[in-house]
């Protein structure tokens, strides 16, 4: 028997064939370096020339030399001016965030204004552009401004500040050094609480106000609006997570209604009482479970160590997974939210000679009558083996005798009638997934080919059982009972009704 390093040596030899020439890597590094040098030079020039705050074009591209020749919706920064090809400026409002500068450009035909993104009140408070109302709004105290910057309502003392703009050689030129201060407001100052529409509309006003708000960073990093109890009332809205946070999505139009800015969130679950539960962290860090009550301002951490939350149909119990303990393996926990008491199921079964500690539980799904939980169990090297088990909550707290469904399955979901759906990955000849239906857990499943050809990662049914969402990669699709399939959202790392 050879020594370990000798045993592993063939892997090094094989890896030698996988690496490329260092030349292209050096070239990549050089490009990045030169980009930074250009940025540094621009900063120095700007500081020297105008003695103002340095600004740099936020660099998204790979090669700065390309950007110079690329026309032209891309803003170009020259000295203290930002230039955008005039014909590339969209009608309506567009948000820009260029290094330290944030501003909105509002175009109305030939008339263009550039508004400083400053709600005037709290430091760092950003404006929203409300596309339907065609107004600016400030989220904290509900100041609103017309599309020409004039104050409409709320406690603001003046109209919005603007940058001086001009048009030269077909370019819109925004002069960052020339700020035109907003005129002192003549509109009445509405104290908070008196104007039901404009004071904190996101908390108390109609939830339809300022839907799809736009900020200079794209979408609005804000609290969810109040009227989200319709979450589970029907197929109207669903929740997704991605790198920007937890999103509330209109399931019909795919439009984003609101966003909770928590970039580490994933695995969302919506409870029947309208609360949204999700996991934060994971992978190589401890993960925690959070609860968002849409009528509150801030989400609350509920479980310090746990993941994969699932709320019982009566919203009384939280099921989650914890204990990535090396000896013990994952533990299924059911917590009574009314008194905080917990019951734990341990004893994951060994499969394929894999010790239980090497397996993962995830994808918890409550049976509609609250008596059983289906969960995904992955095991084997790098967890490439998958099965779904169903555990009765009346069982004596061991997972070893949980009932394993036949087949390689992930991501269980129950219909309101107690039919179990699951994803069978790589099931079709084109490598796509199939959704299988277990009318009876002891009988062979039937299959649903609506999502044929897609690689599915999770599915969920709306409360009425009529709409099925499925996530494939980062795209969220919704299928209705008549087999219509629509892409409604993305990018997403998770989704739930």
């Amino acid at each position: 028997m050879k020594a370990l390093d000798e045993e592993l040596r063939p892997l090094v030899d094989a890896s030698a064939a996988r690496i490329g020439d260092p030349g292209p890597l050096r070239e990549r590094a050089r490009r990045r370096r030169s980009r930074r040098r250009i940025g540094l030079a621009a900063t120095l020039v700007a500081v020297a020339a105008v003695a103002s705050v340095p600004f740099l074009i936020r660099d998204e591209g790979d090669d700065p030399s390309l950007r110079v020749t690329t026309p032209d919706s891309t803003p170009r920064q020259i000295g203290d001016e930002i230039r955008i090809a005039f014909e590339a400026v969209p009608e309506g409002a567009t948000g820009y965030h260029i290094d330290l500068h944030r501003f909105f450009v509002v175009r109305d035909g030939e008339r263009v204004r550039a508004f400083v993104d400053d709600a005037q009140h709290l430091p760092g408070e950003r404006l929203w552009w409300c596309p339907r109302e065609k107004q600016f709004a400030a989220p904290t105290h509900g100041e609103t401004f017309a599309s020409d910057g004039t104050k409409v309502a709320g406690p603001a003392q003046r109209d919005l500040d603007q940058y001086n703009t001009s048009v030269e050689d077909g370019d819109l030129v925004i002069n960052l050094a020339q700020v035109i201060r907003g005129a002192p407001s003549t509109a009445s100052s509405t104290p908070p609480g008196e104007d039901s529409r404009f004071t904190t509309p996101w908390n108390r006003g109609p939830s339809s106000y300022c839907q799809g708000a736009l900020t200079t960073d794209g979408v609005a990093p804000v609290r969810l609006p109040s009227r989200v109890s319709v979450f589970t009332a029907g197929p109207e809205q669903l929740v997704t997570t991605n790198d920007h946070g937890v999103h509330l999505i209109d399931a019909q139009t795919g439009r984003e209604l609101a966003l909770l800015d928590d970039r580490a969130a994933h695995s969302p679950a919506v409870a029947s009482d309208g609360t949204v539960w999700y996991t934060v962290g994971g992978s190589n860090e401890p993960s925690s479970i959070w609860r968002l009550d849409p009528t509150d301002d801030a989400p609350a951490q509920m479980i310090a160590r746990g993941f994969a939350p699932a709320i019982s149909p009566d919203a009384r119990f939280l099921a989650y997974v914890t204990g990535a303990d090396e000896s013990e393996g994952n533990i299924l926990v059911v917590r009574d939210l009314s008194d905080g008491s917990e019951r734990r199921w341990t004893g994951l079964p060994a499969r394929d000679n894999t010790p239980p500690s090497a397996g993962w539980i995830s994808y918890l799904a409550w049976h509609p009558d609250g008596t059983h939980i289906a969960f995904g169990f992955s095991y084997g090297f790098e967890h490439t083996q998958h099965e779904i088990d169903v555990v009765a909550l009346t069982s004596d707290k061991t997972l070893a005798d949980a009932e394993a469904l036949p087949g390689r399955l992930i991501a269980p979901a129950w219909t309101p009638g107690g039919v179990l759906l699951a994803i069978e990955p790589e099931a079709t000849v084109d490598g796509g997934a199939r959704i299988v239906r277990f009318e009876d857990l002891n009988a062979a499943p039937t299959s649903d080919e609506r999502f044929r050809g897609l690689n599915l990662y999770n599915i969920d049914l709306s409360a009425d059982g009529e709409h099925l969402l499925a996530r494939s990669g980062s795209d969220v699709f919704v299928a209705e009972s008549d087999a219509v399939l629509r892409r409604v959202a993305g990018p997403a790392s998770g989704a739930s009704w």
Binding site: E7, A14, R18, L25, R30, E382, T384
Partner: protein, 171 residues
């Protein structure tokens, strides 16, 4: 702003690359189980090394630094889609086994915890000293030694007759 490298010593970088890149890719393969992912992360780590070459070239534990950079790249990828990496991404086209190794050994490595695979990879593939292993893992030397010992024991129990190597003996 990162220091711009003055006149990078291309030859020295290339020599280092050709000696270290295969070992880094193999080490990351042990850690993450996927040779392609490992090769991508290693390439990106070398790009970052060359960007900072003036500084990196003077480092005492250059390989340990490189591993940490690559490991961060892997982690970021994993975080980005934690669930997918757990359950989905690996279905596609991933070779279940590394054909270059004895199948028993590869499977046994797969049974180790992430930290244990890191330790084994760093020590026996990348060829770091125990002290460098600790530096690369960001743990105390004793912790690294214990992790290595546990990892070897576990490998040995998974593969009959895997010989114990006395630790602390520098190669």
């Amino acid at each position: 702003v990162e220091e711009p490298a003055g006149d990078p010593q291309t030859d020295e970088f290339d020599v280092w690359y050709s000696s270290s890149a295969p070992r880094l890719v193999a080490t990351l393969t042990v850690v993450c189980g996927d040779p392609e992912v490992a090769a991508d992360a290693a390439a990106e780590a070398f790009v970052r090394a060359y960007e900072r070459w003036r500084r990196v070239s003077r480092m005492e534990h250059r390989d340990a630094w490189l591993f940490r950079v690559a490991q961060n790249i892997l982690r970021r990828q994993a975080r980005r889609s934690a669930l997918e990496r757990r359950h989905a991404a690996r279905w596609a086209e991933r070779p279940a086994d590394a054909p270059e190794l004895r199948i028993e050994l590869w499977r046994a490595v797969g049974e180790l915890s992430h930290r244990q695979r890191e330790a084994i990879g760093l020590r026996y593939v990348l060829g770091l000293s125990q002290r460098e292993v600790a530096a690369a893992m960001g743990v105390a030397e004793g912790t690294a030694a214990a992790t290595l010992a546990h990892a070897r024991q576990r490998l040995a129990s998974l593969i009959d007759a895997m010989p114990e190597q006395p630790e602390g003996v520098e190669r």
